[in-house]
Symmetry: C2
Subunit: 111 residues, 2 copies
DNA sequence: GGTCTTCCCATCGTTTATCGATGGGAGCAT
DNA sequence: ATGCTCCCATCGATAAACGATGGGAAGACC
């Protein structure tokens, strides 16, 4: 879809959020969504149809790697881990994000 | 296009930026782009192929109105003005934007 | 046994924002 | 007359995000 009617996310920030989440340690898809929801105090509610395609993208780019395992609840789960390239990418995306946010704030706070 | 290779903008923020710019007074398309570039210190470089479609959207939604006139340089120009609904929308979008940015920051600054 | 909830995976289709390329035209200076 | 800056606008491509939908397995509760 394009821009959805109900906004749960700032478009263009999902990769960054996922990379940042994984920087805290390996996690599976469902867990990533849960962490994001919890950390953002229920503001960021990533649907699974946004999350899994995003993870595929990150896999293809080589920023994360995945391996099957068992979750804490004894379920089959695919754990994602940040690669070295992913860690570098996280830094770059964060810089770029901060740069844009700063610029936007300059506009929004202008008189 | 989808996401361009070179990012000049956070997707989903252009409408907000335009509305905010027009809150400072009527302006034509080219002028809006110039103001944004100047205020952001050259970070936000809105292409005309992003700008004019966005203005069409805002017109259709009734958030801005337009009228032809002459620019300061004696050129034919279309001046856009914020409507009452547009001013309201600006407030709403800004709140939503701040809400999301706050949530994102909570994630990015987590340990 | 049967049902329900929670956890966990994934894809397909649709919509839409953004941008590159491209088209035009008019004022003004050299 | 050449070129530069201003000013308008559209078309086509691409990719992001999401609703809907599909599945399956663990554990609880009746």
């Amino acid at each position: 879809m394009g821009r959805p009617e109900s906004i749960e996310l700032l478009p263009g920030t999902l990769d960054l959020l996922i990379l940042k989440t994984l920087a805290a340690g390996a996690e599976h898809g469902y867990g990533i969504a849960s962490r994001l929801k919890a950390l953002s105090e229920d503001v960021l509610q990533i649907g699974e149809s946004s999350l899994y395609p995003a993870l595929q993208r990150l896999l293809i780019k080589g920023w994360v790697k995945a391996e099957w395992g068992a979750s804490e609840n004894n379920r089959r789960a695919r754990y994602y881990t940040l690669t070295a390239a992913g860690r570098k990418q996280l830094g770059a995306e964060r810089e770029e994000f901060d740069r844009l946010i700063l610029a936007i704030h300059k506009v929004l706070n202008a008189t």
